[in-house]
């Protein structure tokens, strides 16, 4: 029992790192653009399929392939923002942007079905199947590499946000769009680039997700987005640090529950979400009032 528990905690932390990467992208997009990107889940799957296509057809290493897929997803994100999100105005902007990103999600899902079919696939590489003995556990290399990559990317995002001029303009836009505009921040540019960055990290997240999970198909995006949404709301919308903490905590909790109730472990996310919102509607680390209209 004890070893099982330790194992669950280790798995939870490793998995939490990857979810943190994806959730940070989502919460960053929310903070700057004030929209919830429902397409984030299927974009992760798109990133995974891009890695899949590169490794199957070009026999490119998965991590090397990221040098192509991450910029590609960045460009896709910027195009989507400029074409479909930016033109939305007016009082219904909130619901409209949600629906627009939902529409983008089902278009991408449909396209993935057309190109790759409904069968589950997995990403393969030597380090996906091999594992290393660490602290008495056999841990797959991919989980360790993936965790390291996720930590590096989250640290990179942090550095970008808190150590660069561009990061300051992102944070300024998150705090007050109008004020940021007044001091000379090009908020449209910031919004497009932030959306691009938020989507670009899904390429890395998707690769790790596709390699370490039990396979994926175009439909996997729904499961993923519902978890990610639960995570960022739980953390408090727009809170980056909160998203990191919530990801690691919830994934650990999920893998512990998984020991006893494998079918219900995902319900942990929603149960926690409902519970937290009953007590604190702004989420655990929410700085802005979720109730404000």
């Amino acid at each position: 029992m004890g070893t099982e528990l330790t194992r669950a905690v280790i798995n939870g932390i490793l998995g939490g790192g990857i979810y943190a990467l994806m959730a940070v992208g989502l919460t960053l997009i929310f903070g700057v653009l004030d929209i919830i990107n429902i397409a984030q889940g299927v974009m992760v799957i798109l990133g995974a399929y891009l890695s899949y296509a590169l490794s199957v057809h070009l026999h490119l290493d998965l991590f090397l392939g990221l040098l192509i897929t991450v910029p590609a997803m960045f460009v896709i994100g910027v195009i989507i923002q400029v074409a479909f999100i930016r033109p939305l105005h007016g009082s219904e902007r909130t619901s409209m942007s949600l629906l627009a990103s939902y529409a983008v999600a089902i278009i991408i899902e449909g396209a993935l079905y057309l190109f790759f079919g409904p069968d589950y696939v997995t990403l393969n590489a030597s380090y996906v199947t091999k594992s290393v003995a660490l602290l008495g556990f056999h841990l797959p290399y991919i989980d360790l590499y993936g965790f390291a990559l996720a930590v590096a990317l989250v640290a990179g995002l942090y550095a970008l946000l808190y150590r660069t001029r561009f990061g300051r303009s992102i944070r300024a836009t998150m705090q007050d769009r109008t004020a940021a505009m007044l001091v000379g921040v090009d908020v449209n540019r910031v919004a497009a680039l932030t959306y691009g960055i938020g989507v670009a990290v899904t390429a890395a997240g998707g690769m790790i997700f596709g390699a370490s999970g039990g396979g994926f198909n175009p439909n996997s995006g729904y499961d993923l987005i519902s978890r990610l949404l639960a995570l960022i709301i739980l953390a408090g919308l727009g809170s980056i640090g909160g998203a990191l903490v919530a990801s690691v905590f919830m994934l650990t909790l999920e893998s512990i529950v998984d020991i006893w109730q494998p079918n219900w472990s995902i319900a942990v996310f929603y149960a926690a979400l409902v519970l937290v919102l009953l007590i604190k509607p702004t989420g655990l680390f929410g700085r802005q009032a979720a109730r404000a209209q």
Binding site: F30, I35, I36, F84, P87, L88, H89, G90, S91, E92, T94, S95, M96, L98, L99, A100, Y102, A103, V104, A105, I106, I107, E109, G110, A111, Y113, L114, Y222, D223, S226, L229, A230, I233, L237, N263, W264, I266, A267, F269, Y270, L273, V274, L277, L278, P281, A290, R291, A292, Q293
Partner: protein, 410 residues
């Protein structure tokens, strides 16, 4: 039918002394068209007995119910729910589980329809109490999360739901043609009833309170609208009707699976129908369902796989959001209204200006007053963004204060 009604209401309100004449012509046309449309939908299954046509007709009516029911909560209150499949699936599963446990056979299954509606309405109470505490994005996300909980339950509570195998409806010993016809008329009755309820709510004080909540919940509350009970009541009514539609759909399709009863595309499709037709209008979701569902079914049969039709649905959705953000009915009403205004040589320009102002969140007193006023007027496409904006221009100043004070008092 309403495309004609709204402009007439708009011009009528614009010039009070002309109101009776314009209103009566509009009304006569409206009643005439309504009778014609009713006759057409009643005769329809007798004229077309082809089974694929009658299946599409039935499904379209089910979606009319679902879209109108969705709109009478989400459209009126502004709380966009992407979790209404919870009610649809719960209605279907409630009927299926009851039929299985009580060994109900044949047409006795229809006695379970009220039970399905009650089950869905009952689920809507805790669902609403949790979700309606939060607004905007968070509300949408909570509805999605609760939706996934229900799908998960349908998969995992195998002793009730049979898991991935799903449930079968009792077998009906009807020949195919009369099977389709009877289901068609049941769905038609349900659809007409739903539209009637939506119409009644819209014209009522309750509907006014809902729209006051949509425009500015805090202000509505400060004026005495008890927001939570009002929102929750609408949510429960909407959920109950959706559950009823789900049960009828289940009897027709004969089988419910976790992924078909609790289908994420259902949520999106229903919202798309309301948005396409015009959010918060009575006839908008009806029109949206009549356009989208047949188109979707046709595309699915045409392309033999549903993926391409899924892509097209998404593309259509994007097009609506980008180019028709207010929906067909309000857009046509505004265009038609403006055209009529210009034709009659009245002040088209101020009316248009007010129209544009109305789109901005109801923060200024003018647009708020306008939206509340509309509840009292005949305008069919009543929303801040939508409708007979010309009516706002004309009557907003004079009657708005009275309506504002009258509306939220409870």
């Amino acid at each position: 039918m309403t495309g004609l009604a709204s402009p007439s209401a708009g011009t009528a309100a614009g010039a009070r002394h002309r109101k009776p004449a314009g209103w009566q012509t509009g009304r006569a046309t409206r009643v005439g068209l309504l009778v014609l449309a009713l006759a057409a939908v009643v005769i329809f299954p007798l004229a077309f007995t082809n089974q694929s046509v009658s299946t599409i007709a039935f499904l379209t009516l089910i979606f009319v119910c679902a879209a109108v029911a969705w709109n009478l909560f989400s459209g009126y209150s502004g709380y966009i729910s992407l979790g209404h499949a919870v009610f649809f699936g719960s209605g279907a599963y409630a009927a299926g589980i009851a039929a299985k446990d009580w060994q109900i056979t044949g047409s006795a299954e229809f006695a379970l329809l009220p039970l399905a509606a009650a089950a869905a309405a009952l689920i809507a109470v805790p669902f609403g109490l949790i979700a309606l505490r939060v607004r905007r994005h968070t509300f949408v996300v909570i509805t999605i999360a609760i939706f996934f909980i229900f799908q998960l339950m349908a998969f995992n509570l195998t002793s009730f739901t049979n898991g991935t195998i799903g449930l079968n409806a009792p077998f009906l010993l009807w020949d195919p043609v009369s099977f389709d016809q009877r289901f068609y008329y049941m769905a038609l009755a349900l659809a007409l009833g739903t539209v009637a309820i939506s119409w009644l709510i819209k014209g009522s004080r309750f509907g006014l309170q809902l729209r006051a909540i949509r425009d500015d919940e805090d202000r509505a509350a400060s004026l005495g609208v008890r927001a939570m009970p009002v929102k929750l009541t609408a949510f429960v009514i909407s959920g109950g009707i959706t559950g009823l539609a789900g049960a009828l759909w289940f009897f027709f399709i004969n089988q419910v699976l976790p992924q078909s009863g609790f289908d994420p595309l259902f949520d999106l499709t229903v919202a798309l129908m309301a948005f396409l037709g015009g959010l918060g209008t009575v006839t908008g979701p009806l029109l949206g369902a009549l356009i989208i569902e047949p188109a979707q079914q046709y595309l699915t049969t045409q392309f033999s796989n549903s993926y391409l039709s899924q892509i097209l649905l998404g593309a259509l959705f994007l097009a609506v959001v980008l180019f028709l953000p207010r929906g067909l009915i309000p857009t046509v009403a505004a265009k038609g209204g403006g055209w009529l205004e210009r034709r009659r040589g009245r002040q088209g320009a101020p009316a248009r200006a007010e129209d544009d102002d109305g789109g901005e969140d109801g923060t200024d007193a003018g647009s708020e007053a306008g939206s509340v006023t509309e509840a009292g007027s005949e305008a069919d496409a009543g929303s801040v963004t939508g409708t007979g904006a010309p009516a706002v221009a004309g009557s907003g100043e004079s009657s708005a204060p009275a309506a504002t004070s009258k509306g939220p008092a409870s």
